[in-house]
């Protein structure tokens, strides 16, 4: 065991830093560092810059356009991106459907879909959850009935993040009739969002913003060649998708940057009981200890993630510790979200949507970071609910690790 970077790894870090310094658009950087929502063009422009560099698909196999980086290089990349304020990759195409396509898709599907994902010409969204299928995902009811060379799809998908930007949606649909076991009745379809019969309706989350949607399918015809793998095997592919993307699930690098910024903010925020400049919130012992406890938790999380990466890189299956990443990653991030609200104090209250929702020209209410503190805290309560709620993750630990 050792923790040092090799000379090659140090050179790689230098290269990444120089690249980020030169190529990350300042406007996008500012929004990321201030915790403001990004619009579609922010994401797409940055992904295209990465595509030009050959760094768009960090985890893909090299033959499909991946980087071929070692786990340590990926770790360096994630950290440097977060420190520089680069946007996080929107996962639905790059990290979710692409691994399913290159693992289970046929040659024609790989040729047809992977280049558009790699170049970010196609925006993908996820059609998993339904109004009555949340944690019990396998109980989904959106149906796909064969009719000639097509499926006819009917049903509703929900919590479709950024579905209003999407060109394509990947969906779990029920192809088996009653009596077929849930896990053998589900198929995995790729559906063009332009197909007649699809409507997207917004859901407004607690931050007042439009990020998620419901997607309705009314007799939507989907060609059979858009099915991944075999009919009825979709649950296997879906599970692979859910467990595939372990790198970054804990969002350690983002939390490190956010905590560093919170600490800076708190150091510049008066605790109110003094009149000198150095009478900052960080001088309040109970607050400083709260920050310290979160930082310690983050260190434990970071090394849990590194252990997982290391195990995977030596060809082992991810160890049981990997199941912890989702739970602890979201808990730490949510604790940091709360810190921002606490630092904002009274200025956590003003709800001037334009300030955190996009471009704003008017007089600014409160300090910059305060504007989005409470809305972001509210919004991010989703993280311990989505992707298999944290309670579901504990069920997985009980079953897969503890044998209960």
């Amino acid at each position: 065991m050792n923790i040092d970077y090799s000379p090659e790894e140090l050179a790689f870090r230098r290269e990444v830093r120089d690249f980020l310094q030169a190529k990350l658009p300042p406007g996008t950087r500012r929004k990321v560092l201030d915790g403001l929502p990004l619009i579609k063009s922010d994401h797409v422009n940055w992904q295209k810059i990465l595509y030009e560099q050959g760094w768009a698909a960090v985890n893909w196999p090299v033959e499909y356009g991946g980087t071929g980086w070692t786990p340590t290089q990926k770790y360096i990349w994630a950290n440097e991106c977060a420190m520089a304020g680069a946007p996080e990759v929107v996962p639905f195409g790059m990290k979710m459907v692409a691994p399913v396509i290159y693992t289970y898709g046929n040659q024609e599907q790989k040729h047809r879909f992977l280049p558009g994902i790699l170049s970010s010409d196609h925006w993908w969204c996820q059609g998993y959850s339904e109004p009555n299928a949340g944690s019990d995902l396998a109980s989904l009811t959106t149906s796909a009935v064969r009719d000639g060379d097509s499926y006819v799809v009917n049903g509703t998908k929900t919590w479709t993040t950024l579905g209003h930007y999407a060109d394509w949606i990947f969906c779990l649909v029920r192809t088996g009739g009653p009596g077929v076991k849930n896990q053998e009745a589900i198929s995995f379809l790729l559906i063009d969002m332009e197909t007649p019969g699809i409507t997207v309706s917004p859901i407004i989350t607690l931050d007042g913003l439009h990020e998620v949607n419901e997607v309705h399918f009314d007799n939507v015809r989907v060609p059979l060649e858009n099915r991944i793998g075999e009919e009825g095997r979709g649950w296997t592919y879906a599970k692979m998708l859910l467990t595939h993307e372990r790198t970054g699930i804990a969002r350690v690098a983002q939390s490190k940057k956010r905590l560093q910024t919170a600490r800076e903010l708190a150091s510049n925020t008066s605790h109110g009981d003094g009149i000198e400049d150095d009478e900052s919130l960080m001088r309040v012992p109970s607050f400083a200890q709260k920050v310290a406890a979160i930082e310690i938790e983050l260190l434990a999380l970071e090394f849990t993630e590194l252990r997982t990466l290391s195990a995977v890189s030596t060809g082992q299956a991810p160890g049981p510790e990997s199941s912890i990443l989702k739970i602890k990653g979201t808990e730490v991030a949510q604790a940091i979200d709360e810190l921002y609200v606490e630092i904002a104090g009274y200025y956590g209250l003003p709800f001037v949507k334009a300030q955190f929702g996009g471009e704003y020209e008017g007089p600014w209410v409160g300090p910059g970071a305060a504007a989005n503190s409470a809305p972001r805290y509210f919004n991010n309560r989703k993280t311990s609910i989505y992707g298999g709620s944290n309670e579901i993750q504990k069920n997985i630990i009980c079953k897969a690790v503890l044998g209960l």
Partner: protein, 375 residues
């Protein structure tokens, strides 16, 4: 960056695991705890023969290598057996001080005997008023001619009763809280003027209250530089804290595994209580706490070996995080066992006791959270 364990390290771990499996079941441990000395001299000799007492020391001092990662792996394995032999106070702590501060002669004489299993040591540093401030020392050593005259009281000296030689932290100058003026003195346990009160600790180990009343020592029995011992003590205590954290990880793993096992066999309302989700999620939390603790201990060990100056902060992070995990896992292990968990009959309660004391030795959870924040 590399998290793999070498063949040598794997063998070290496996050989300790094998020893525990063959010699250290719950009943055998209880007998050792209740024995006159509190541990087995035969085991101690075996540890020496197998090279385990050499693990914390560098090759140039005759040791196995002295990496913090080796130390971590060894202590974790000992933790799984709840081993009561005084490796931590005698070898890691006291031996660590000699390795860090001793002259070539002192190292040759004492480390050799220590690693051979012929010498027991204890470090007398804490005093009733000092809590976790290593500089808070009232015990004084006055230089009179070519002797030191030592007077003061030391509290809860781990392995004090078995020690042949005590290392005593005393003031040779400065005020009670000063960083400068702390010296280390080597004191034979049978020296006149030294009074020991030996006792058992709640976790099955042994310790002593020791008073020094005008104990006269040759000035040459100084370990390291007069007045400049505090940094050495701090560095050594950091290594010991890491070792203790690693031991706790081993004990925590056993605690959650035994709890899982017990709930699968214990039946209430006609079913195994492991089938209740209210209990399942608590066991998932125990597992999570154990792995988070393991991760941060690995982090601290790697930072200690990297010699990059952030080791004290890393160790405090580990001690703080391990303390939280030890509390949760210890308490939950007892709770999930129910009534039998609060009896002396079952091992789980004894694991709980050790997981309690590790929180309060070498700095409490709160102390290390504060220290982390201040560094």
């Amino acid at each position: 960056m590399d998290f793999s364990v070498s063949e040598e390290q794997r063998m070290l771990r496996d050989s300790i695991a094998k020893f525990i499996q063959q010699n250290y079941d719950f009943h055998s441990r209880c007998e050792l705890v209740g024995s006159e000395t509190g541990f087995s001299a035969a085991h101690w000799q075996l540890f020496a023969e197998l090279g385990w007492l050499s693990v914390p020391f560098r090759e140039e001092d005759g040791g196995f290598g002295g990496s913090a990662v080796d130390l971590m792996l060894m202590m974790e394995a000992f933790g799984q057996g709840m081993v009561v032999e005084p490796i931590l106070p005698s070898v890691v702590l006291s031996g660590g001080l000699i390795a860090a501060a001793g002259s070539e002669v002192q190292k040759r004489d004492m480390l050799g005997a220590l690693m051979a299993g012929r010498l027991q040591l204890a470090f007398a540093f804490s005093e009733p008023q000092s809590r976790y401030n290593l500089a808070n020392i009232k015990t004084r050593a006055e230089l009179q001619g070519d002797s030191y005259v030592l007077s003061g009281q030391k509290s809860v000296v781990l392995n004090g009763g078995a020690a042949d030689v005590l290392i005593v932290a005393a003031r040779t100058s400065g005020g009670q809280l000063d960083d400068n003026g702390v010296s280390l003195l080597l004191v034979n346990a049978d020296t006149d003027g030294l009074v020991r009160q030996d006792y058992a600790t709640v976790d099955g180990h042994r310790a002593s209250e020791i008073t020094f009343d005008k104990v006269r020592l040759p000035a040459t029995d100084l370990l390291g530089e007069a007045g400049g011992a505090l940094p050495v003590i701090e560095r050594t205590v950091d290594r010991v804290s890491l070792a203790l954290c690693a031991e706790a990880v081993g004990a925590m793993e056993v605690a959650y595994r035994k709890t899982v096992e017990y709930t699968r066999t214990r039946k209430q309302f006609g079913v195994a209580i492991a089938s209740f989700q209210a209990l399942q999620h608590r066991m998932a939390d125990m597992f999570i706490e154990c792995e988070m603790a393991r991760s941060i201990v690995i982090m601290a060990a790697l930072q200690l070996d990297a010699h990059n100056g952030i080791a004290p902060r890393a160790v405090s992070a580990a001690k703080s995080r391990v303390g939280r995990a030890a509390r949760l896992i210890g308490q939950e292990a007892v709770q999930l066992h129910g009534g039998i968990g609060v009896t002396e009959e079952l091992d789980i309660g004894h694991i709980f006791k050790r997981l309690t004391t590790v929180q309060y030795m070498f700095g409490s959870t709160d102390h290390h959270t504060r220290r982390f924040a201040s560094l």
